[in-house]
């Protein structure tokens, strides 16, 4: 098992380096001036050159990449051009808000997804299955931002039950797990949860149906095992794939949703990315993408290890 984990960790190193290179290149090859956030279009040439030198944009790209990577390896992602604040602090603050949202959305999405998936799988081709599948398809198909806006119109503007925007009455810095704050989380969490709910429902439905049609289930029933016991076997066989799908979905949610976070002004990594893109704040953009990509890589690593623990066949593969 340890050898398997070590091998997986070694695989992560080139992935991380490639991610760093790709995110650096992506933001640098797009047209436009990296200093647009602090340099008005009417600035003099001398001023532009002075600022370019001050921020190190006058150096060749490989040198810039090398310096950035070296600093990143030491935990310094640079300073935001637009705000002058350290990128790492900005990203970590935003990521913690996104994690709060992602966990809330995962609890809602995965719970309902598993429930609907199992019910649909057990009652395949009945009206119950059609209803659960219909909800899943709607969840996957409805655009996030549209659903978010509809929820805001109904529950904030018309009924005045829940707040429309923000992360608490005093901002996310004073976040607490009480009703005054949780009410700010409900609408964005529901909006974020619909796609994972739909995907998990469909996956679990397919897995359950497939497992129930296998010979070993027939054998278990023939041996007189109760239906609850059979259910336990179904769950255990479906778990590795369902876990992989949920891990992937959690990864997507931890990446933050630009659309959902913008609609609800939720100060997470999606809103941060949105701001970095519109301000063309390259250090912030690079740093945010890198941290989010690392999260994704580490999450996949954790899921791989968890899968191997549940299903010993995987580590032998």
């Amino acid at each position: 098992m340890l050898a398997y984990i070590a091998r997986r960790i070694v695989y992560v190193v080139p992935i991380v380096l490639s991610v760093a290179l790709v995110c650096f290149m992506l933001v640098h090859i797009t047209p436009g001036d990296p200093l647009v956030a602090v340099l008005p279009a009417d600035a003099s040439q001398e001023l532009a050159a002075q600022l370019r030198a001050a921020y190190g944009f006058d150096r060749p790209l490989p040198v810039q990449f090398g310096l950035w990577l070296w600093k990143a390896l030491h935990g310094d992602l640079g300073t935001s051009i637009a705000t002058g604040r350290p990128v790492l602090a900005e990203v970590m603050r935003a990521v913690s808000n996104t994690v709060t949202l992602a966990i809330a959305a995962a609890i809602i999405g995965f719970s309902f997804g598993l429930l609907f998936g199992l019910i649909a799988g057990y009652f395949r081709d009945t009206w119950i299955d059609k209803m659960a599948t219909g909800i899943a398809i709607a969840g996957v198909s409805v655009p996030h931002y549209w659903l978010g806006m509809v929820l805001v119109i109904v529950f904030s503007v018309q009924l005045n039950w829940l707040p429309a925007v923000g992360a608490g009455p005093g901002g996310s810095g004073q976040w607490a797990w009480d009703w005054a704050h949780i009410r700010f989380l409900i609408l964005p969490a529901i909006t974020t949860s619909v796609i994972p709910m739909g995907i998990v429902t469909r996956t679990v439905r397919a897995l359950t149906g497939d497992i129930l049609s296998q010979d070993f289930v027939e054998a278990l029933r023939a041996k007189g095992l109760r239906e609850t016991g059979v259910f336990g076997h179904v769950i255990k066989n479906a778990a590795p794939t369902a876990l992989a799908v949920m891990g992937l979905q959690l990864g997507y949610m931890l990446g933050g949703s630009i659309l959902v976070e913008t609609v609800f002004s939720w100060p997470g990594s999606g809103l941060l990315l949105n701001s970095a893109i519109f301000q063309r704040d390259l250090p912030l953009l690079q740093g945010t993408i890198l941290v989010l990509a690392l999260f994704f890589v580490l999450l996949n690593l954790s899921v791989d290890i968890a899968q191997a623990l549940i299903d010993p066949r995987i580590k032998r593969a």
Partner: protein
């Protein structure tokens, strides 16, 4: 009997005192709070020189800080003009027109209690212009130095007098100085002394970062609480030097809400009392629920800037004038923009001191436009193809695509065949500086980038003076008109304000007569306010004064 009366009195007194104790919290909670949803995605920088354009100056510049000169924001009908701020008077030296003497306002204090004086002015000039000064901050120079392009240094004469030097005679200096906000040197020095860093530069950066979290200026609002990207809370400065501008509201909370529908929902659900730029299609709904829409003509222009290089179809003045006569701007205002624009007939409209008396009247006159085009050799069977570079969104661009499609349709009536080259906003903004000769122009004959027209340099000079062609500044199309050059030179060297304004008016009129741009619209800076808000005045400016605003409980 007497004892019982005394006891009664004591009981009443005790009850009153107890009631007053219990009422204390309710008195404390009677603090008036104004909550504003901004269009910015982040709180503009708070260290003195805000980013995010004029929205930044509006919310974190003019609130916490003052300049030597300021804008008069007290009237909704008159043009907003420059008035004394931290300087009470100024004059260029008779024997050397590159040197100005500014007399400073006595008795002004920063929020930390230190004195505002000549040393503070020199320190603040040095923070953006003197590379050797410890407080020199590259992150602040971009947004400052470009807005006062000729200022080079400051020198203390006495505690309340400073001498400012420009690299060439420049009568625009007092207007440009509205962009230099005075931060407290004492506060910064205390933070610098405490800052950690490998060298002086690192300590300086750390001190500015700390200053941004605990700012100190001389403005009518003080920083109270700051959560980056989420909220900025300001409290009123009771000791503000202009007693007429001490805020009526106790606390102001600024919340970034970049999405128009989110802002609108926050207003309608009572989360905020005021939003900037409500979604145009929600205006009816907002008004229907009793909220007020405030708007006024802004010093902002939505134009097409023409290419004037060899071979450009816009080199023919008949074509330029025809385009300007072919647009039904009132139709655009009443239809597409739901009333949220003012038709543009030049950079400045009648009533502005820099308007002048143009001979060519920009209006909707289709027959006259078609006649001019026919004289220029075009017609229904011989259309003139022009390509315009624009963006799908962007700061100040209003609704760029629908508005350009409206122009495309309107100009087709005058034998134009308009092709749109739509690119990303930041790229367009960068291309604007590179000019029409650069490959990034992609063969365009015009560019659609909106501009602020607060001061003469930004409104006229950078577009009309031939020496402002790329890469120097924003004369994108390489306009080269000796009359414009002569008037710019004359305006910059005329130091009597009234005479200078007359020259600027002449320059504006000349640019209209020349149909230098396709002038389309002025933004109106719409904002939606709760009916509880009283005393608000929307001036003809990018800025507003929050001091007279009050809010009913």
């Amino acid at each position: 009997m007497r004892n019982s009366r005394l006891n009664n009195r004591r009981a009443v007194l005790l009850a009153l005192s107890m009631a007053s104790v219990f009422m204390m919290p309710s008195l404390a909670s009677a603090e008036s709070v104004l909550r504003i949803g901004m269009t910015a995605a982040d709180i503009p920088r708070t260290l003195g020189q805000p980013d995010q354009g004029f929205e930044g100056n509006r919310f974190t510049g003019l609130t916490m800080y003052d300049g030597l000169t300021m804008w008069d924001l007290s009237s909704a009908t008159k043009a907003s003009v420059v008035i004394p701020g931290l300087a009470t008077e100024w004059k260029v030296k008779d024997d050397d027109h590159t040197k100005w003497i500014f007399k400073l306002r006595p008795g002004v204090k920063f929020h930390d209690g230190s004195d505002f004086n000549a040393d503070a002015v020199v320190w603040n000039v040095d923070k953006v212009l003197n590379k050797e000064a410890p407080q020199y901050d590259p992150s602040q120079i971009g947004v400052t130095a470009s807005r006062m392009p000729t200022l080079v240094s400051a020198k203390k004469i006495d505690d309340l007098t400073v001498e400012l030097t420009t690299k060439e005679p420049d009568s625009f200096l007092p207007i440009n100085l509205t962009n230099l906000f005075m931060a407290s040197p004492t506060k910064w020095q205390a933070l610098y002394d405490k800052a950690e860093g490998a060298d002086a530069k690192a300590k300086s950066t750390a001190a500015w970062a700390a200053f941004a979290k605990d700012a100190s200026g001389t403005g009518p609002w003080k920083m109270a609480k700051f959560t980056p990207r989420e909220r900025l809370e300001l409290t009123k400065n009771d000791g503000y030097w202009d007693k007429n501008r001490i805020p009526h509201v106790d606390r102001m909370v600024l919340l970034p809400m970049p999405e128009a529908n989110a802002r609108t929902a926050a207003l309608l659900s009572g989360q905020v009392d005021w939003i900037e730029a409500p979604a145009p299609d929600a205006v009816k709904e907002i008004e229907g629920r009793g909220f007020k829409i405030e708007k006024n003509e802004q010093p902002h222009v939505w134009p097409w800037q023409f290419s004037r290089i060899e071979g450009s179809p816009w080199n023919d003045i008949r074509v330029r004038r025809a385009a300007n006569l072919c647009i039904d701007r009132e139709g655009m205002r009443d239809g597409l923009l739901s009333g949220l624009m003012v038709p543009a007939t030049g950079t400045f409209e009648p009533g502005h001191p820099w308007r002048g008396k143009p001979q060519f009247q920009i209006k909707y006159d289709l027959p006259a436009a078609q006649k001019l085009m026919k004289e220029a050799g075009y017609g229904p069977t011989k259309k003139l193809t022009v390509k315009v570079q624009t963006s799908a969104s962007g700061s100040g661009q209003m609704l760029p695509l629908p508005m350009n499609e409206y122009l495309q349709q309107a100009l087709a009536e005058c034998y134009f065949d308009v092709k749109l080259d739509v690119i990303e906003w930041n790229t367009l903004f960068t291309n604007w500086r590179r000019g029409v000769k650069d490959p990034s122009a992609n063969g365009s004959d015009a560019i659609n980038v909106t501009y602020a027209a607060m001061d003469p340099f930004f409104a006229l000079v950078r577009f009309l003076q031939s020496s402002m062609a790329p890469p120097v500044s924003n004369n994108w199309g390489y306009i080269n008109n000796p009359k414009f050059d002569e008037l710019v030179k004359k305006a910059r060297t005329t130091f009597d304000d009234k005479e200078r304004d007359e020259v600027l008016a002449e320059l504006n009129a000349a640019s209209i007569d020349d149909a230098a741009f396709l002038y389309v619209a002025h933004d109106v800076g719409p904002r939606a306010l709760s009916p509880k808000i009283k005393g608000f005045v929307q001036p003809k400016s990018w800025f507003v004064d929050f001091s007279p605003v009050s809010i009913a409980p």
